[in-house]
Symmetry: C2
């Protein structure tokens, strides 16, 4: 017997599940389009060189690699068995897309991507090996108008999905850099300190302190105290700028200040706050970084940042770029739990005799033709256990059920 | 420098291309839904055992196989390097889906699938290594109501897409069997004769004759003459049934007769005709088979048939099943060529000063908020070459362009 279940960590979507997911995707796309974003698509499969170009951080360890075919496999040099892979995110393919199509794209390009990505991760609740990502990116806009639009549009999207009490936490990679310089860490210690700080949620202040002490003995207390003074202040951003003084470049300060000011006014369904402890894993961020959380859920439901150097890796010429990715699967799970009791309206069902004559089918089909311009009609043969069939159809969400008999439609339910 | 182009045989879709494809998909889905079909989704990746279970015919030679990971790869037995693969069609995954979820599905299940499939084929015009398939299937309906609905719904879909003069050619695998029995071919010669007949389009009558002669010397002339008598008759179906006599089971004759009669009346944008030369490649068909062609295009733009034995391979219990697959890529190409000159309405563009103050951005964002409930507004910074920017925006499809200055919106175009 063949395997009936989907591949490990992957899912089948039944009609009701699919319908909810599609409704969410439609709302996301429509809202982003209202902000001038347009949807594009790249293939699920990319050349392995692109996927392993050190842009993807730890995700590169999780690539599903595709075996070479035919002659290429037989003559594989250096044991290189694979030439393709499944994308693990939508940002690296977007950078390739932009490089490939720049001549046909506007100077400031606002892209929507809503597509599956694949990661050979250990499956667990809410984490899958094929999952949907919803990204918006603005390529070609150097100023913080990009960040402001990305945050405002994303918060409007969540509002249209019925999600309120959303918080965007925001910081900047350059501010993090100022922070560790202010504490006197060496250049080569910086990224390890960031990794330690990134774990604050999981390992707590004591855990961070221990890890930092291991990286740079004698500096952990000062570092953690500085973080504590900032986070416990009534105005963490102001306190942070005071603590960092000249370590923090003026442009970085002004950039964050403006984003916090403007989005504080344009965002209505939550708030945008400075968070000095925000790091975000991906190595490609060069400036602003931000993360989304929904009140009541401990976990992040999205995030993004500025990655001004990635496209240059492909083209040799840097282009400013900034993105925001919504954690679609977590949002879909949240909304499906809220809507669990709702049934879908499936329209009408028409039941015909098991031995209906061809002319009867023609008559039913003709009667349905006009109705189908505006609503749904499913045609089914009656089964022996008629009452059971009616019950099942009602459970499936059919609003009205008709029986076609002797040339007439009789409403049963 | 990294590769900028998509992987071989795969495509990037720019906003305008994506938009056309999405419009087509929306029309297809809405029309099929009006006939009571509901959309489902299966993962792109399936276990390799399923994909290589001899259901897919020659497509199994074109599978993109995914390398095992970690320990599994190191301890690979018998040199089995792969445990997963990308699906090459939507029918084999549907059979698995049905087996996996049968307890939650209605007795007669009408499914829509619109998803990518992958085949490591030699790329050429109109043939890609990642492409979209649109399938509808009815599982659990034994009678030809299934075929009638599949054909009527598909023709209505094509009509809603603006495609008229479509022809469905129809036959039955059991009729083909009667045909070769009538000519006295041996059991083991049958499938080779079908393969030869299937090439009629490409190699012509003489080619078919030569191939059949090579399979069963002395029988080719009779076979080809029989085919010719049927195809050249004013009523090929009647002629065929007369020629086949008792070789053709009465139920097969009646089945085709009814489908031709009913769809002859329910289909308004084309016709449904019997074609004795229709074979269709896939090995899994057990009864009715059909193929779609659009007037003016020589090629098939879709097809399908009944495959009553496939689900049994997974569950041990046969379930009647019947499907119709639209050749989405060919239809999208046809429609894009027709719509080439059309531009998309992108809504309004608002241009702001390069050095706009934060309060200015807040004011613009607030003004756009209500407009965005019903239409699209993109916000952009003015560039030095203002006239060029306006020209570009018009070309991109912006219907109205505003300049925001000193607290007021001035319509430029």
């Amino acid at each position: 017997m063949l395997p009936k279940t989907p591949a490990k960590g992957m899912r089948d979507f039944l009609p009701k599940e699919f319908s909810l997911r599609q409704q969410i995707l439609t709302t996301i796309q429509r809202t982003y389009e209202s902000f001038g974003f347009t949807r594009i698509e790249t293939p699920a499969v990319e050349n392995i060189e692109l996927l392993t170009s050190k842009q993807g951080g730890d995700n590169e360890k999780l690539i599903f690699k595709i075996l070479k075919r035919g002659e290429k496999l037989n003559s594989a040099e250096n044991g290189e068995l694979c030439d393709l892979g499944l994308r693990y995110d939508l940002t690296v393919p977007l950078a390739r897309f932009y490089s490939n199509n720049v001549g046909q794209l506007p100077g400031v390009f606002k892209a929507i991507q809503m597509d599956n990505v694949w990661r050979a991760d250990r499956p667990q609740r809410g984490r899958y090996r094929q999952f949907m990502q919803c990204d918006i990116d603005i390529i070609g806009e150097q100023s913080n108008l990009a960040e402001i639009e990305l945050i405002t549009a994303t918060m409007q999207t969540l509002s249209n999905l019925g999600l309120d009490n959303v918080t965007v936490r925001i910081s900047d990679r350059r501010l993090l850099n100022a922070l560790v310089e202010r504490c006197g860490f060496e250049e080569e210690q910086k990224s390890s300190v960031f990794i330690a700080l990134d774990k604050l949620d999981k390992i707590g202040v004591t855990g961070v302190m221990q890890e930092v002490e291991a990286i740079a003995p004698g500096k952990a207390v000062e570092f953690v105290n500085l973080i504590n003074r900032i986070t416990s202040s009534p105005d963490p951003f102001r306190r942070c700028t005071e603590e960092l003084g000249d370590y923090l470049p003026q442009e970085v300060k002004q950039n964050l200040e403006e984003i916090l000011y403007v989005t504080g006014k344009t965002v209505k369904n939550g708030n945008v706050v400075f968070d000095v402890t925000l790091v975000r894993g991906m190595g490609y961020y060069t400036g602003t970084i931000y993360e989304l959380s929904v009140s009541g859920l401990g976990i992040s439901v999205g995030g993004g940042g500025r990655y001004d150097k990635m496209i240059g890796k492909l083209t040799g010429q840097d282009v400013p770029a900034c993105g925001f990715s919504i954690g679609f699967e977590r949002i879909a799970l949240l909304l499906s739990e809220r809507n669990m009791q709702n049934t879908v309206n499936r329209g009408a069902a028409v039941l015909v005799d098991k031995n209906i004559e061809p002319d009867g089918i023609v008559a039913v089909m003709e009667s349905c033709r006009n109705v189908r311009q505006n609503s749904n009609v499913t045609l089914l043969k009656k089964i022996k256990n008629f009452n059971f069939q009616i019950k099942q159809l009602k459970e499936q969400g059919y609003e009205s059920i008709y029986e076609y008999k002797n040339g007439a439609f009789n409403k049963i339910d």
